[in-house]
């Protein structure tokens, strides 16, 4: 599964993109955030305030309950601030 990070989530994680093999029981966006948090201090800092991190699965905005079992690409980022 391809993971993407943007803005301060990217800065805290330390890189913008990676490919990971996710355990079968990590099957939602929320579960993925918790699983990633345990991969190191940068990840922990990025996901410490879970309410401030948004997600997209295959380039569509989703909530924490979204299923990721068929996802090709999951992205994490702060609330958007364009315009």
């Amino acid at each position: 599964m391809k993971l993407l990070y943007f803005a301060w989530v990217r800065e805290r994680v330390g890189h913008g993109e990676e490919d990971v093999s996710v355990p079968a029981d990590v099957d939602t966006v929320g579960a993925l955030m918790r699983w990633l948090s345990e991969r190191g201090d940068g990840y922990a800092a990025a996901f410490a305030e879970a309410g401030k991190v948004r997600a997209a699965v295959d380039q569509a905005h989703v909530g924490p309950d979204a299923d990721i079992r068929d996802a090709r690409e999951v992205a994490f980022f702060p609330p958007v601030t364009g315009g």
């Binding site: 997209a56 380039q59 958007v80 601030t81």
Partner: protein, 174 residues
Amino acid sequence: MADRPHAGYSSSVQEADFDLAREVDAMRDGRTDIGAVVTFTGTVRDMHGDTQIADLTLEHYPGMTEKALDALARDAAARFPLLGCRIVHRVGTMRPGDNIVLVVTCSAHRQAAFDAAMFMMDDLKMRAPFWKKETRAVDGAWQGAWVDARESDAQAAAKWADASPRPIAADADG
């Protein structure tokens, strides 16, 4: 849009600046059924509250951004009786006074053109995957800081959730 064959919509994500006149001329394109053209240009301000800003960098999610802007223009064309709409958003680093975003809407009637342009900006600020990082003057030094999302933008976007386009009188113009 089978029911509105002339409601052309398009979007662009680009580093380069845009040209207001060229974008408007391209949409009007000699047409004589348009009665109202609205443009919104968002520009970089030199202050954020009381803090001075040196520059602004727009990060985005390549791939998703293009889809999001295209969906935004398509939604506006479906929701309002438009004869065309377009959104152009820049990415990269910009300085105060520079252009960030352009929305152009054309309609037979002014209310639809205004409403569609406001809808597109409100929706853009909630959905399009852009993030702003400012270089701010803090205690005499320049410091990079990500811009926080604002509750007022969520409220602005929410007001369209239940709103239907206003009915337009058949003979209304301008």
